[in-house]
Symmetry: C2
Subunit: 377 residues, 2 copies
């Protein structure tokens, strides 16, 4: 196997948890890392400068959305996704498998690939493993994800096995289609639903093909945290030690802490951005609903210990008011805060791994969350 | 008459045009000045830092909106509007007269004041000259506007005269109710529709009462630019030379150039912000509709000579895409650009007044606008 196109240095470990650094064509990022979701070529509501100011070093884009609009060839003509959206740092693009599967009646899967109708205008499209890789090359993604069939949940074991095997054949074709270049990498995706032996088999199959990183897909789909962690316990040990591991679509802050302890290096989730737009704020102590009338006269920040601009400059009363009035600045300020909170959490996780104190951190984290919100004024 | 509470220095003049500086309790601003509209305690879509970065030194808030939600007393308890919305600079608040008048069926005007039903929840409210001044004191406005009856357009002369006279009685009561403090000022508002003699009479009445500044209200309501300028020609000479003059709700860039030449110092208008949210961009050469498909492959900025972040970092193609996709960043980036354009225009107007070259500037401005958009690629 030739040298990996994507750099990954493991700087420290504590139990199964790892502290590392991934180097791409557009710079490096520290792990464990949280990637804000910029599905459609923008992290909703924020400028890239604001996203970077939260501490984010890598963001996520989506093949499915960008292939339909504005189109991968158009993005390529305009200089690639980094330039198009003005994000100079690393970008990982999801392959679109998850989105295509969720189209339900609008798609058809064969061994060759997926055909589907656009949710925007009903036009017909095809997504094969080869095309998914090509689109991500046109976008200029630093990290390309293989096309996979995202197995529905719940699912019978037999169907999960067939689906996983299809994903492994597609992974193989993606590897063949991917042109290795320094600083650009291709990640495989483990499937197999909640069946440990299928997950192990999938992980082994991907390791046999050889990828620049390994993702765990098909989780956070309703199986619950206990089941998710059980699957991780079976999957992660079967993945190569020397490559980054990415748990797709996860998750809540305590999901992330638990998954880092099991050896996951990378995360993405819509929770901080989507919740921010609907008035939910993550803090060290609690999740607050800013639409609640109890905040209307509260001069305190969301979290007095948070260093983000929202907590520095605005009261809960003002944030409550913005949501009641339907002002754009409400979603903007809460998205800023939530992404800052997630990035602060990742930074807070890195240090104890270096110091061998991750168990203590996890215990303190759990205790603080159990305390609930600040006492009433 | 005692010394004015609001500082105003005339630094230069060119014909009727003036170059000045207004000093308030929250800092000074250069004139001619454009005030971005922050009706409901936020300039829609932008953080205050972004608003300040466009070059804006003073913003506008609205009594009517803020009295209904979140309530003037609540804002006062939370430390005043500057702190509430995190804008440390000068704030001018409109009195709410214009908004109340536009409620049509929902309001009743008597000599005492206006009673109306909230557009939010139908609750009943009263706005008298005294209450309008009190609300603006609770908000902490640097510049308080008198309550006026905004005369509808078109209107019979007799009705315009009655309406203007009512506004003058209210202006008198506002002056009595306003507590003079250093750095805080009260502006009178000239009414009289399109009738020059009524405008002159109104201006003389206000000058007799004595205000810290003088606004021209009831224009930009459909009378057209020629009529508006004719009214200004009759009104401005009747206003005191040593106090700032504010043309309310105006306007398009060429309205502003024409009004500055007639001696107006301050402006506000929703055009740059509202148009920005719907996809219109003001440039030196043309107004562009970013929703138009001709922009979809255009790698050029809105205006290659504009120094704003939107023109520095984004293509027309990306902006077009954001509006087609309904992404929040589209309105944000266009609002940023449009406010920057307006502030650049004001800065560009100040220099030739100092140099006695305003006529040349106005001619060059007109010529550039006539050229239209950049040539097609």
């Amino acid at each position: 196997m030739k040298a990996p196109a994507l750099g990954f240095r493991r700087l420290a470990r504590d139990g199964a948890a790892r502290r590392g650094r991934v180097t791409t064509a557009h710079g490096s990022f520290e792990t464990p890392a949280f990637m804000p979701v910029g599905t459609a070529g923008t992290v909703k509501g924020l400028t890239p400068e604001q996203v970077a100011a939260t501490g984010a070093e890598i963001i996520l884009g989506n093949t499915y959305h960008l292939m339909l609009r504005p189109g991968a060839e158009r993005v390529a003509r305009l200089g690639g996704l980094h330039r198009f959206m003005n994000w100079p740092g690393p970008i990982l693009t999801d392959s679109g498998g998850f989105q295509v599967m969720s189209l339900a009646e609008l798609r058809k899967i064969t061994d060759e690939g997926a055909t589907f109708k656009s949710h925007i205008d009903g036009s017909r499209h095809e997504l094969t493993p080869e095309r998914a890789v090509e689109i991500q090359r046109l976008l200029g993604s630093d990290i390309t994800m293989v096309l996979d069939e995202c197995t529905p949940f719940p699912v019978e074991r037999e169907d999960a096995e067939k689906s996983m095997e299809l994903s492994m054949r597609w992974a193989n074709r993606c590897k063949d289609a991917f042109e290795a270049r320094p600083g650009y990498g291709l990640f495989g995706i483990v499937q197999g639903s909640v069946f440990e032996d299928l997950r192990e088999k999938s992980a082994a199959a991907l390791a046999g093909i050889g990828f620049d990183g390994y993702a765990v897909g098909g989780l956070a789909v309703g199986e619950g945290q206990a089941t998710m962690l059980r699957v991780l316990d079976a999957t992660v040990p079967a993945l190569p030690e020397d490559r980054p591991r990415y748990l797709m679509g996860v998750g809540k802050p305590d999901d992330i802490v638990a998954a880092v302890r099991r050896g996951i290096d990378m995360f993405d989730c819509v929770l901080p951005t989507r919740s921010g737009r609907t008035g939910q704020a993550f803090t060290r102590r609690a999740v607050l609903n800013l639409r609640n009338a109890r905040h209307q006269d509260d001069p305190r920040p969301l979290d007095p210990d948070c260093a983000c601009p929202t907590c520095r400059d605005y009261s809960r009363a003002y944030l409550h008011y913005l949501f009641k009035a339907g002002e754009m600045l409400g979603p903007i300020l809460l998205t800023l805060h939530n992404l800052s909170y997630y990035q602060e959490l990742m930074a807070a996780l890195r240090k104890p791994i270096e110091d061998g104190e991750l168990d203590d951190f996890a215990a303190a984290f759990k205790k603080q969350q159990a305390e609930g919100d600040l006492p009433a004024l």
